[in-house]
């Protein structure tokens, strides 16, 4: 009997989709596999590839088996194809096919739309690993290094997940798209990654934490809406990916939180109460809160652009077709068809920002972005609690959605973080107060000294409250291979 919960190791590719009895797809994946391994091996510096990293690996997709921790060398990590268990009699949760049985094969009329969605999702996965490839060299601790590598191997697995769907359901087109996912490179001139935010290098660890907090959260929201797909294999794939994605959210939220924590501690130790006394604070070897606010402004707004246009017929079509749902679609109380509903989206009228009612069907992107902002605001509130607890008067804020945008209704105008419309000159004059300057970047870079002694942390970041897998403080999360 085909076992769909447990991971089968009877092929080169661990899977719970019965690959060994699906010769066509197995062969295609085995052909793709060496290219993937080459991609991985060329990516991350060799001494890390040979190090033993305390990683979790899924041995099954049910709660008891999916998080097994042990030391593993990254190139030997068991990347595989894992889908959440099939829900019996699952129905399409939205759009014109609402209530029909979920598709187990791609309906012909939605083939290209579906393939495009999968390719875009798939393209972001290896891109982020490429963006983060050199961070291991400046890890503030072995704990953080381990978290980075866990994020990296799981992004690699997410690529596998998408590639499986392409090979299994999209024939030759799918195979070509899968090859292209390895051909494109983050930041490459000839073959860049598909989305802008994924072509920027992640230059330092604060950027990494901000990226995992804000940009991976876009990924989480996209996965949430694809998990609602009427195409059941896509839904099941994304549902399992979400469990892993939660770890990335964790790395981002606690990484930024620990940075803030350390800054506040250092300020208190030195008796500095003014958070804007930037030079003095930087002399302590920690990142001042105003700079953290600037980093937040940057990463949040870049991530907002990933949601696309506020009003989008593509998004409407995908929803109506039942290919992509809304965040927590099944928990929403409306008709799931949005035939007569409206939704308020941002617009710009007579020099003012206004929320305007538009047909809800066309506002799917905006709605997901609103859900994202709400989700993102929660963590910012928890960061502020750390500052408050330390007795420092400073509050981090998400900037207005109009600020620093390249896509959507705000793209061709300039706004302050509070949403005020500005002239070019006014904007330029304040630009460095709102977004990190080169000097800010250089300062952060100057703190990026590796700290590889078990249990020790670089001076700009506080240790975590709880170890991974309940490990004690001085646990050696990475056994470094010294070349």
């Amino acid at each position: 009997m085909l076992d769909l919960i447990n991971v089968s190791y009877d092929t080169q590719i661990p899977n719970n989709v019965g690959l060994s009895s699906d010769k066509r797809v197995l062969k295609a994946l085995e052909k793709w596999h060496p290219g993937y391994i080459n991609w991985w091996n060329d990516l991350i510096p060799q001494n890390f590839q040979k190090s033993m990293v305390y990683l979790r690996t899924a041995v099954s997709v049910d709660p008891k088996g999916w998080a097994k921790f042990d030391y593993v060398k990254m190139p030997e990590y068991r990347w595989g194809v894992l889908l959440a268990p099939q829900v019996e009699d699952r129905r399409i949760p939205c759009g014109e096919h609402l209530g029909e049985p979920a598709w187990q094969e791609v309906p012909g009329e939605y083939r290209s739309l579906m393939r495009r969605l999968i390719v875009i999702q798939g393209d972001t996965e290896p891109a982020s690993v490429e963006q983060q490839r050199f961070l291991g060299l400046t890890a503030p601790s072995l704990y953080d290094m381990r978290n980075l590598f866990q994020v990296n191997v799981e992004e690699g697995r997410h690529l596998w997940a998408m590639v499986y769907l392409l090979h299994k359901y999209f024939g030759r087109d799918g195979r070509e798209e899968a090859d292209d996912l390895l051909r494109r490179q983050s930041g490459s001139e000839e073959a860049p990654r598909m989305l802008g935010a994924f072509n920027e290098e992640t230059p330092d660890w604060l950027s990494f934490f901000m990226f995992t907090y804000f940009t991976d959260r876009d990924g989480k929201m996209q996965l949430e809406s694809l998990a609602q797909s009427g195409f059941d294999p896509l839904s099941r794939t994304c549902r399992f990916m979400l469990t892993e994605e939660a770890h990335h959210m964790f790395v981002g939220e606690t990484g930024v939180g620990r940075t803030i924590q350390r800054t506040c501690e250092a300020m208190n130790e030195a008796g500095i109460t003014d958070p804007y006394d930037v030079d003095k604070i930087r002399d302590l070897g920690v990142i001042d809160l105003p700079t953290i606010q600037k980093k937040l402004n940057l990463h949040y707004t870049l991530s907002l652009d990933l949601f696309g246009q506020e009003v989008s017929t593509n998004a409407a079509n995908a929803f109506n077709a039942g290919i992509k749902g809304r965040y927590q679609e099944v928990k929403l109380g409306d008709d799931h068809k949005l035939t007569d509903d409206t939704y308020a989206v941002w617009d710009f009228e007579d020099g003012k920002l206004v929320r305007k009612e538009v047909p809800a069907l066309t506002a799917i992107n905006m709605r997901l972005r609103d859900d994202y902002t709400k989700d993102a605001a929660g963590g910012v509130g928890r960061w502020n609690k750390i500052i408050e607890k330390a007795g420092i008067e400073f509050e981090l804020k998400l900037p207005h959605e109009a600020f620093h945008r390249k896509i959507g209704v705000f793209a061709d105008k300039l706004f302050a973080p509070d949403g005020t419309l500005l002239s070019g000159a006014d904007y330029d004059a304040r630009f460095n107060d709102w977004l990190p300057s080169k000097a800010d970047g250089d300062f952060i870079q100057s703190l990026m000294k590796p700290c590889t002694e078990p249990g020790k942390y670089a001076g700009w970041i506080a240790p975590p409250k709880v170890g991974i897998d309940n490990k004690p403080g001085d646990f050696e999360y990475v056994k470094l291979h010294m070349a």
């Binding site: 939220e253 897998d469 004690p472």
Partner: protein, 402 residues
């Protein structure tokens, strides 16, 4: 459930300071016991059945919080928290809520509690041990293993028939740590026509398998006269299938810390967990020196399981002290005699804050070993019963006897 009890009980809670509100636990919980508002994620004490499905999926560790309470914290209270309340003082003796638990199965938990009783108090896992998975399979839903091999470990002439059994789990996940046990369900029914209850056996292979990265494990089983399960297991043939439950046990475990020095004292099949410990160390940190000491008792060399392979382990990697009680040309020696002979070595371990002691074998060995340890401790001015309690509550003193 719990709130109706008057006795103290354990309540499952989530630490709001650590939780990142990813709601993965909520999506995972089969009882819909977890919910959230804009502030917190909370556990409904009336619905939580302690299945712990939410524990491994939590990326932060915030989910693994427990408080012994006499009155449950309500959902409203939990929603209002910005931090977790401290554990309230519960008068000693009233708290019978159990620790993390060695098994979610009363009969098996009782068996393990009995086996660990010799430690003189509540057993605790080493601080750096990996987290054990327990109760993945039970009698209602056992795993099926295939016998890959069954080898006699004792001399043909010995009347002790101890066997090394290798079981292949195929595609079934069976994450087991060194020192854990599995249950075997013998086929057939008892005198009352009920299916036999599982018998517990310590796993004698390391976590990555008898053969590395093969999903198999080994057991060390002695044939007992009229033993229903031991005879069944010792007679297994290659290719037979066996019903397994478990894994069980969450305290008699190997510390991950490679600097931990282990003193392992055993007789007979009590050697099973130590074979696992040793192999794990050999695979993980083969270059370690002077950090393992094994004291192993049997009647004669031919009765001692794994005598051959053990002799090949270098003395620098593991110091081996064999005690034979029925050798024709030598005086009777028991494990406690070996301990006394090597008092200095034992004292070093007793004084070492990373020293761990493990005792495994027949109940009869407990008394003599404790007496020896007590005398050896006294020799360096240490009070054994205090030291033992400290070591045990540090997770550094472990007894499993039967």
């Amino acid at each position: 459930m719990g709130h109706l009890m008057t006795k103290p009980f354990r309540q499952h809670l989530i630490d709001p300071e650590i939780c990142i509100r990813c709601y993965t636990c909520e999506m995972t919980c089969p009882e819909q016991a977890i919910e959230h508002d804009d502030n917190n994620v909370v556990v409904d004490v009336e619905k939580c059945k302690f299945c712990k499905d939410c524990i491994p999926v939590c990326p932060t560790g915030a989910i693994d919080e427990w408080r012994v309470v006499t009155e449950a914290y309500t959902l409203e209270q939990q929603y209002s928290w910005t931090e977790l309340p401290e554990q309230e003082d519960i008068p000693e003796g009233e708290d019978d809520s159990g620790a993390d638990g060695e098994a979610h199965d009363d009969a098996i938990a009782a068996l393990l509690a009995e086996a660990h009783k010799g430690a003189g108090g509540k057993a605790k896992a080493p601080a750096t041990a990996s987290k054990a998975t327990i109760n993945l399979y039970n009698q209602g839903k056992p795993a099926e293993a295939r016998v890959q091999g069954n080898y006699r470990l004792t001399d043909p002439g010995s009347d002790a028939d101890v066997r090394h059994i290798i079981l292949d789990l195929g595609g079934q996940p069976f994450p087991v740590l060194e020192g854990q046990s599995v249950g075997i369900i013998p086929p057939g029914t008892d005198a009352d026509g009920n299916p036999h209850l599982p018998r517990l056996y310590s796993v004698s292979s390391p976590r990555d398998g008898e053969r590395p990265n093969f999903n198999n494990l080994s057991l060390t089983v002695k044939r007992e006269p009229h033993g229903i399960c031991s005879n069944y297991v010792c007679d297994l043939q290659k290719g037979d299938t066996v019903k397994l439950t478990g894994p069980f046990g969450s305290t008699f475990l190997l510390p991950s810390d490679s600097e931990a020095h282990l003193l392992m004292i055993c007789t007979g099949t009590g050697s099973a967990p130590f074979r696992g410990f040793t192999m794990r160390r050999q695979r993980e940190t083969p270059s370690l020196n002077e950090s393992l000491t094994l004291v192993f008792g049997a009647r004669r060399p031919g009765d001692l399981p794994y005598f051959g392979p053990l002799k090949k382990v270098p003395e620098s990697f593991m110091k081996k002290l064999f005690a034979f009680s029925r050798q024709s040309d030598a005086p009777k020696q028991y494990v406690q005699d070996k301990l006394r002979e090597e008092a200095e070595r034992v004292q070093e371990i007793l004084k070492n804050p990373k020293g761990h002691i493990y005792i495994c074998g027949l109940k009869a060995m407990e008394h003599g070993v404790e007496e020896a340890l007590s005398d050896i401790a006294r020799g360096v001015g240490l009070n054994w019963s205090d030291l033992r309690d400290t070591m045990r509550s540090d997770g550094r003193y472990h007894v499993e006897t039967y």
